[in-house]
């Protein structure tokens, strides 16, 4: 009987998604905004159930799914992220004329896919989760049906995403041919043996890494990112940049944490990832310099952050990785929320020019946005700085000094474009009049929570560090 209870967090989300879909059909249009609150309720319930099983360590389906502390921690992080995103969407959906029911249901389904992905050691199960996540993501990207960009984003994401899925399956087939298993521990064990030097198996592992590189947006698999991020509804962009990234990296951690436990520098995959990390940081930041659309800037910035996160994986420091993810969650969702605050019915202000003088016209939105940008750039005393500090210092401890030098120089470049937004907000006189819809309490709540998170993580992250340490201690090393 234990098993059913253990499944509760996942089941709650799925039930919530289905319920919302059904209710959608029966509710009057003006009442549909309640669906947002309903999905919030299911998310929080699922989060509470996660807490409940924190110490239990359930496994079920013959060990194909298990809720160790690592997966629970990531699930909780995802739930926090999605809660914030739902809060920002409450008003956004009606302002930008999308459909409530589909939106929340798909969002919850995507979350359920993510939860499956982070709580399995079986690559086939992970693939199932990945597909649930991907299909809902494609649909979410295209939800703003009135806007051609949104449809374009959906199609692009779908086509390239299908390729990535195909890569995953093909890689898995190659791995299975060698290791005769789809379980991560067995695969890692296989690589420890002589037979593990087989080129085919390494190619298989490489293909799987590539397919996650696509989801997380590593260079050179990032081409879809700016277009999709620009076209998708803004809360969904925030969701992609935080949620999808966190999940992809979590799976990579599970896959690679034990892979190079010893003599890691001799592994070809390690150096492949080293190069990808360096490229991702440099290209992401350089490309962002030329953008004038805020969503595109943040898209490239999220590519660059994927690079920093990969540095944490290369340094085998999962605790720093998770801390970075938490800090990134708050600062990035905060930044997107600030962008969403700059909108009114049917219009979003996304060009840099629109932001001229905003800092003094709307001091609270401007100041919080500036703090999120400074945090993204890695200025102390924000969470962004501490996250970079932890990641880079453990990378140096692992002897990855050249990579860290590349990383800090890349983040110097990033300072320029983050500050450019601040320059527009505070140092330019407005060139055109904009007026925004100021009545959006849920969004302000998100801004406040994210601000609190960014500063708390930067100054007194004690509890979060303990929480992360517990979660990482549960990561099996085999």
């Amino acid at each position: 009987m234990n098993n059913l209870f253990a499944l509760a967090p996942l089941l709650t989300i799925v039930v919530g998604a289905l319920l919302i879909l059904i209710l959608e059909a029966f509710l009057h249009t003006e009442n549909k905004s309640y669906l947002g609150f309903l999905s919030l309720f299911f998310l929080i319930a699922s989060g509470a159930l996660c807490f409940n099983s924190w110490t239990a360590g359930y496994t079920y389906f013959n060990g194909n799914l298990f809720l160790d502390k690592f997966s629970l921690a990531l699930t909780l992080i995802l739930i926090v992220a999605v809660c914030l995103i739902v809060l920002t969407s409450l008003k956004y959906i009606s302002l930008q004329a999308a459909n409530h029911g589909e939106y929340y249901a798909l969002l919850l389904l995507a979350v359920s896919g993510m939860m499956v992905m982070v709580s399995s050691n079986n690559l086939l199960v992970i693939f199932l989760g990945l597909e649930v996540l991907s299909v809902s993501s494609y649909a979410l990207a295209g939800l703003r049906t009135a806007d051609q960009r949104s449809s374009e984003a959906a199609v692009k994401y779908f086509l390239l995403g299908s390729f990535a899925s195909a890569f995953f399956v093909f890689g898995l087939a190659l791995l299975f041919a060698g290791a005769r298993s789809v379980e991560i521990p067995a695969i890692i064990g296989f690589f420890r043996t002589e037979a593990g030097l087989d080129l085919m198996a390494i190619l298989g592992l490489g293909l799987i890494v590539v397919s996650f590189g696509f989801k997380v947006a590593f260079v050179p698999f990032h081409m879809w990112t700016p277009d999709v991020y620009q076209g998708a509804p803004t809360p969904i962009t925030a969701f992609f940049s935080v949620g999808t990234k966190a999940v992809g990296l979590a799976v990579l951690v599970r896959l690679l944490y034990s892979y190079w436990s010893e003599g890691f520098k001799s592994q070809p995959v390690f150096w492949l990832l080293w190069a990808i990390a360096a490229l991702t940081m440099v290209v992401g930041n350089l490309m962002a310099l030329r953008q004038t659309n805020l969503k595109r800037i943040l898209a490239y910035s999220s590519i660059a952050h994927a690079g920093y996160l990969l540095v944490a994986i290369l340094a085998r420091d999962s605790a720093s990785l998770v801390f970075y993810l938490v800090a990134y969650l708050f600062m990035n969702i905060g930044a997107f929320a600030a962008i969403m605050a700059m909108s009114k019915k049917g219009t979003e202000y996304l060009e840099l020019e629109d932001y001229s003088g905003v800092g003094f016209k709307y001091p609270w939105i401007g100041a919080t946005f500036a703090i999120f940008l400074l945090s993204l750039a890695g200025f102390p005393p924000t969470g962004g700085f501490l996250a970079k500090f932890f990641v880079f210092s453990s990378a140096v401890r692992q002897g990855l000094v050249p990579l860290v030098i590349i990383a800090v120089l890349a983040s110097l470049v990033s300072v320029f474009y983050y500050l450019r937004i601040v320059v527009y907000m505070y140092m330019r006189t407005p060139s055109r009049e904009i007026d925004i819809d100021l009545e959006n309490p849920a969004l302000y709540l998100v801004l406040f929570l994210c601000l609190y998170g960014v500063l708390q993580l930067g100054l007194f992250p004690g509890n979060v560090l303990i929480f992360i340490k517990q979660a990482i201690a549960a990561l099996p090393v085999f």
Partner: protein, 528 residues
């Protein structure tokens, strides 16, 4: 536990800034009064530092230490004879800077005052931190308010200037951050303990090969801040575009963070590497002196003239620091204070002129002395203090610097004396063109002499200029012990080496070197 005076000094301005949020932005004078009161209280409290400071011991005083994040990241504050006066200089100039912008800043006064107060927090934090993490946090955090001060309230090319300022400083400090990581991991691998405490690092001596890279990274950060030639190009831009108060703080205090960084971090931590790079550094400092002086001669804008004079004067300070003698180091610290006073005062004077005519070009002035006799006297004293006239503060500092430099190298001292000639030339010439001669610009006829507020903030500086010039013992005796301790540490590091031999041996393990193949050889060299 006694009153946490350093924490108070650091965070009281921050509290003041937070308080300002809740004041109506239309009450401009109320806002100004609150900010001024906060800085004045801070100054009063900082005087207690002076009176309670024991000049006999080199150990840090007023120490506050507490655990913060773990992993060696502690909250550790303390000051010694080197940082004592830099803290007081900061608290002293802050109210003056606020007074100087009392009427000239009218737009967005609330945000302006908040950023000034945040700036004070950042600067004092840099000078009192004894933990490398904490130091770095303040070092970087301080950039943000300065970025806004230049960028929002600056002149026509403010955006270019402020971005340049931030990027230059960040380039250095990010590489320094990597060096800090490297030290951190080195210490962890050698001792098995996480530490970012400065004094833990003082106790160990690193393999010279490693020192080289770390020294380069730290020095780059500090050299950009000082600024040493050829990293000085951000300074004239930032100065010219910054509002008066920003320029004052920038010249008087921010640049000192660079020299302070050398004295506190780069030199004591990496003495062997310093030895290796000393010739290069000396030449760069010398070029700075002469180049800065020559550039100052040809400037058309008074503010950029003073900015280049800073490059020149800071060159002399760096040369004195690199002399590694007691006189030189003491002179350098003393000259840091002098430069803070006299250059700060010159920027205030330029600000006073600018408020009246809205031009900073020398050719637009002439004959101002006739219209503003009282102002003329103040200008003359400040200018002569910067030139280094005996009886004023600049002389004492320069003479000590030259003593030190002479001990280290005669050639350098002869060449560096050119700074006296150059600074006399560009400052006196500028003074003559601005204050004397016929009145060519009709605007000058309508100039009013300086008012009580302006006299009010110039008088304390003038008094201190005379005091520091006539009775330097007041200041020097508090820094004796710290300075001689620092110099001895470098001059006689064999002794230090023996004392901490145990730690050192572990630190010279091959693992600590980026190029393991060369470690053995250099390790032997070290032991001799």
């Amino acid at each position: 536990m006694s009153f946490p005076i350093l924490s108070f000094l650091t965070f009281f301005p921050l509290l003041g800034a937070l308080l300002l949020i809740f004041v109506n932005k239309e009450k401009k004078n109320g806002l100004r009064a609150i900010a001024l009161a906060v800085t004045l209280i801070n100054f009063a409290v900082s005087l207690a530092l002076y009176f309670n400071f024991n000049g006999q011991t080199p150990d840090p005083q007023f120490v506050e230490k507490g655990a913060w994040l773990g992993y060696g990241i502690n909250y550790h504050l303390g000051i010694d004879g080197i940082s004592l006066f830099l803290v007081i200089l900061t608290t002293f100039l802050m109210p003056i800077a606020l007074l100087s912008s009392w009427t000239s800043i009218q737009d967005r006064i609330k945000e302006y005052l908040m950023f000034m107060l945040l700036l004070e927090t950042g600067i004092i934090g840099v000078f009192v931190s004894l933990n490398l993490f904490l130091f770095y946090v303040f070092w970087e955090a301080m950039l943000i308010p300065m970025y806004f001060l230049i960028g929002v309230w600056g002149g026509p090319r403010k955006i270019y200037a402020t971005i340049k300022f931030v990027l230059f400083t960040m380039l250095g400090s990010l590489l320094m951050l990597v060096a800090i990581f490297f030290l951190y991991s080195l210490y962890y691998k050698a001792t098995g303990v996480y530490s970012l405490e400065l004094f833990d690092y003082y106790k160990v001596i690193m393999n010279p090969q490693v020192q080289t890279w770390l020294f380069l990274a730290f020095s780059l950060a500090f050299a950009i801040k000082v600024p040493m030639f050829p990293f000085h190009t951000w300074l004239p831009d930032a100065h010219v575009e910054a509002p008066t108060a920003g320029s004052v703080i920038l010249a008087a205090v921010l640049l000192k963070m660079g020299t302070y960084g050398f004295l506190r971090f780069a030199i004591p931590l990496f003495p062997d590497a310093l030895e290796k790079f000393l010739p290069v550094l000396n030449v760069l400092a010398l070029i700075g002196i002469i180049y800065g002086g020559l550039m100052a001669l040809i400037q058309k804008d008074i503010k950029s003239l003073v900015a280049y004079s800073s490059v020149s004067h800071m060159g002399l300070i760096m040369l004195a620091v690199f002399s590694l003698t007691i006189e030189g180091t003491q002179g350098a610290i003393y000259q840091m204070l002098n430069h803070g006073m006299s250059t700060g005062a010159l920027f205030l004077i330029v600000g006073i002129l600018y408020e009246r005519s809205h031009t900073r070009l020398i050719k637009d002035y002439g004959g101002v002395a006739r219209q503003m006799p009282v102002f003329t006297a103040f200008f003359l004293i400040c200018m002569l203090s910067s030139v280094g006239l005996p009886g004023l503060n600049g002389f004492v500092g320069e003479i000590l610097c030259f003593f030190g430099i002479f001990k280290a190298s005669r050639l350098l001292s002869i060449l560096s004396i050119s700074t006296i000639i150059l600074s006399a030339a560009y400052l006196l010439w500028m003074y003559q063109r601005v204050m004397h001669g016929p009145i060519t610009n009709q605007k000058i006829l309508s100039f009013k002499d300086i008012n009580k507020r302006e006299i009010g903030y110039l008088v304390p500086i003038i008094i201190l200029m005379f005091w520091m010039g006539i009775y330097p013992q007041t200041f020097l005796r508090k820094m004796d012990a710290s300075v001689s301790n620092l110099v001895n540490r470098i001059q006689q590091r064999e002794k230090v080496f023996i004392r901490s031999q145990k730690v050192n041996q572990t630190l010279s393990q091959p693992v600590s070197s980026p190029q393991p193949s060369k470690t053995d050889k250099s390790g032997k060299d070290r032991v001799r």
